[in-house]
Amino acid sequence: MLLHRHKSRVYTAIYLIVKDRYVAEDLLQDTFIKAVNVIKGGRYNEEGKFLPWLSRIAHNLAIDHFRSCKRHPEVVLEDGSRLFDSMHFAEESFETIQLRQDTKSRLRTLIKELPKEQKDVLIMRHYLQMSFQEIADRTGVSINTALGRMRYALINLRKKMSQNNNAYDKNIYPTRPDEAPVPRNLGRGDEGD
């Protein structure tokens, strides 16, 4: 029950830190096995705070892995798969690969491209569901700094998503200068910033 409720959030958070779906699967498994061991061993004493506790385990494992990878880097592609796992894509056309990149995967790519401080807060708040106060304590900053970083993370994502949408549309509907289309989302994207 708890596994099914939290697996997706925790898995996404781990993936966004380690940027490799296979490693994220392993670390998700390690996270829940650690949790099960503590619970079965009668050492669980975080009453009513299961997700924040689970999140801390997942975050620690992901950060440990990320640090060890910095010492032994591997080639991982933008979608989180490893280089050799994608060899079968080589026969597909560029257009097919482009179409595979839907909004969701583009958003995940944009999250990974955020400045580290913003990305960390976003993962911890949105996917690991830590409170802003917990994030501030964990990262050694004030709560206002944590709130500010989250705000900039969302603003940056919105901006990049709208830029990306425009570029994406141009790829699907290439235009000649004499066939310039009327923008479908006039006024969106760069207003007010």
Binding site: Y11, I111, Y127
Partner: protein, 66 residues
């Protein structure tokens, strides 16, 4: 941000909601943030069935031994 993530007290929520009603620019910014928050939810990934099965098998194995 705190309002967006439901971390405000009842009183703070009331004050912020009042401000949102009176300030259309603030309201627009809030709606944009809420929209991207929704997209973040939709961008979640699912782990493979094999991983879930491994975890469940492990937990069941422990239960049988205890």
């Amino acid at each position: 941000m705190k309002r967006l993530y439901h971390e405000t007290s009842v009183e703070e929520t009331r004050e912020i909601d009042k401000a949102l009603l009176l300030d259309s620019q603030l309201q627009r910014q809030y709606q944009e943030m809420a929209a991207i928050k929704k997209e973040l939810d939709e961008a979640r990934l699912e782990p493979s069935d094999a991983t879930i099965k491994n975890i469940l098998h492990y937990a069941q194995g422990l239960q049988e031994h205890s």
